[in-house]
């Protein structure tokens, strides 16, 4: 009976649960889903990771290529994130050029990388004006079940932590490069930003870490990105208005969760590094 009720009156079904301060998947409003991170999952990439937030799955692979720096920024390399939302991950997406949602999410991720100062692009420069690394961070969503930015950031930063770049001997006069694949230096990350998403229903109910179903029924989302003990983005792209107190409450909750996620990323990368050392 519950199934029919759900498909006929999805919103009412949802509200009936919320009236008892519980969500359809059995979580309380302030409970987040389990997070699983696996580092170095793709052996052909310079760095990679899979992150699962509940059922949401994102895989990230980082490829490094040699390129010439831009003339405006002769001492900087590049880090280019790209999120793909293929039709496989949800019925909302169709094949073809990147959807608006994918473009917006990609831009949000690129902004977070820039805002947090987690990488120094000058570290990627090999020879001024001549040679630099270009890191392509390709994120593919395999299963879209809400809080996609959270999962993307976890996968991206775990992958970046596992990146090691081969040593390049570059002779500027002859324009000759010599790659030493055995001599790799790990890539330096200055901090690890992590995000938490909230869904808003009826301008009053706030749910941490919403599923896709909850995101669809709700009238707005807030994504808060925390780095160390500072904020690096509070993104509320429209949707239901909320009061200041609620927003500050969200920020406090995400600060709590950020500590846990930071530790989780550390543990995941530590384990893989230990395995490599063996």
């Amino acid at each position: 009976m519950a199934k029919q009720y759900k498909s006929l009156h999805p919103i009412k079904y949802f509200r009936d649960y919320l009236a008892h301060d519980i969500r359809p998947d059995g979580r309380e409003l302030t409970k987040y889903r389990p997070v699983i991170i696996n580092a170095n999952s793709v052996s052909t990439a310079e760095g990679s990771a899979i992150a699962k937030v509940g059922k949401t799955t994102v895989i990230c692979g980082i490829k490094a290529e040699l390129c010439q720096p831009k003339t405006e920024t002769p001492t900087q390399g590049f880090l280019i994130p790209n999120l793909e939302l293929p039709p496989l991950c949800s019925s909302k997406f169709k094949p073809g050029p990147p959807s608006d949602q994918a473009q917006v999410a990609t831009k949000v991720i690129a902004d977070i990388i820039e805002n947090s100062g987690c990488i120094n692009l000058q570290d990627l420069c090999i020879s001024t004006e001549k040679l630099a690394w270009c890191l392509y961070a390709d994120l593919v969503c395999l299963d879209h079940d809400g809080s996609i930015i959270d999962a993307c950031l976890l996968a991206l930063f775990t992958a970046l932590k596992t990146v090691s770049l081969p040593k390049v001997e570059y002779n500027a006069e002859l324009d000759s490069k010599n790659l030493q694949m055995d001599e790799r230096t790990p890539f330096k990350l200055y901090n690890v930003p992590v995000s938490t998403t909230f869904a808003i229903l009826d301008e009053t109910v706030l749910m941490i870490d919403p599923t896709a179903e909850e995101e669809n029924l709700c009238t707005g989302v807030v994504t808060i990105v925390i780095k160390d003990d500072e904020l690096c983005s509070v993104l509320k792209p429209g949707g239901s208005p909320i009061t200041e107190e609620k927003l500050v409450d969200c920020i406090k909750q995400s600060m709590e969760r950020a500590k846990l996620l930071g530790k989780l990323i550390d543990t995941a990368t530590q384990e893989t590094n230990d395995e490599i050392d063996k």
């Binding site: 608006d100 473009q103 917006v104 990609t106 831009k107 949000v108 902004d111 820039e114 805002n115 947090s116 100062g117 301008e203 009238t219 707005g220 807030v222 780095k227 500072e230 904020l231 690096c232 983005s233 509070v234 993104l235 509320k236 792209p237 429209g238 949707g239 239901s240 208005p241 909320i242 009061t243 200041e244 927003l247 500050v248 920020i251 406090k252 600060m255």
Partner: protein, 216 residues
């Protein structure tokens, strides 16, 4: 363009009805940024975008040169979501409302300028709204001081910038967009400052709408 002799230059300037085809249009200038906004609606909508229970809102943000890029998509999404919240879209089922924003000059706080222009254009078009919306920008400089209505140069040098959008009925936050890193206290201070800034914008809306109808 209307401008009182006693208004300071930080007050916005706007003019209605410069375009004849849209249902509502405005040229809006705030600080050193100027945009032109046009609203069409309710109009026909493509079948795949049609919603049976409410109108679908579409937003286009055109930069002053070249084609819209990935960054403009983010602006579009933010402005669309804001308009969707502000409109009573359930009154226009199976139809569409189109908000087009053309950037004319960019001199900092472009998002704020676009949101405010969109709100004025919606007001001009006469589409039903739940509340008005006003955006304000402020930025945090390297010394930790907050600057309201920053110029483009101040924004570039800033440690962080904050854009907030408020609604007029209870002053709640509709949207928030930030760049750079900052502390929670700084965020709360910025929020407070922008709220005061938005109050001025609401006052300005009242003034121009009054002016518009009293003239005729």
């Amino acid at each position: 363009m209307e401008m009182d002799s006693n208004t300071d230059c930080s007050m916005p300037i706007s003019n209605f009805g410069n375009l004849t085809r849209p249902d509502g249009s405005t040229i809006y200038s705030q600080g050193k940024s100027t945009v032109i906004a046009g609203v069409y609606g309710p109009i026909d909508v493509k079948p795949q975008k049609m919603l049976i229970d409410r109108g679908s809102v579409e937003t286009f943000f055109r930069p002053k040169s070249g084609l819209p890029g990935v960054g403009d998509r983010l602006y579009e999404t933010i402005i669309r979501n804001i308009c969707e919240t502000a409109l009573v879209s359930t009154l226009y089922p199976r139809s569409g409302i189109q908000v087009v924003i053309q950037e004319m000059q960019s001199g900092g706080e472009l998002i704020s300028c676009s949101v405010n222009a969109a709100c004025l254009a919606l007001l001009d078009s006469g589409i039903d709204m739940k509340f008005l919306i006003a955006a304000a920008t402020c930025c945090l400089d390297q010394e930790g001081y907050l600057i309201v209505d920053p110029t483009e140069l101040q924004q570039e040098k800033a440690k962080a910038t904050f854009v907030f959008v408020f609604e007029s009925s209870e002053g709640r936050i509709v949207a928030s967009h930030t760049t750079g890193t900052f502390k929670l206290e700084q965020y709360e201070q910025a929020l407070d400052l922008c709220k005061k800034g938005s109050a001025k914008i609401f006052e300005y809306y009242r003034k121009v709408i009054n002016g518009k109808y009293n003239k005729k």
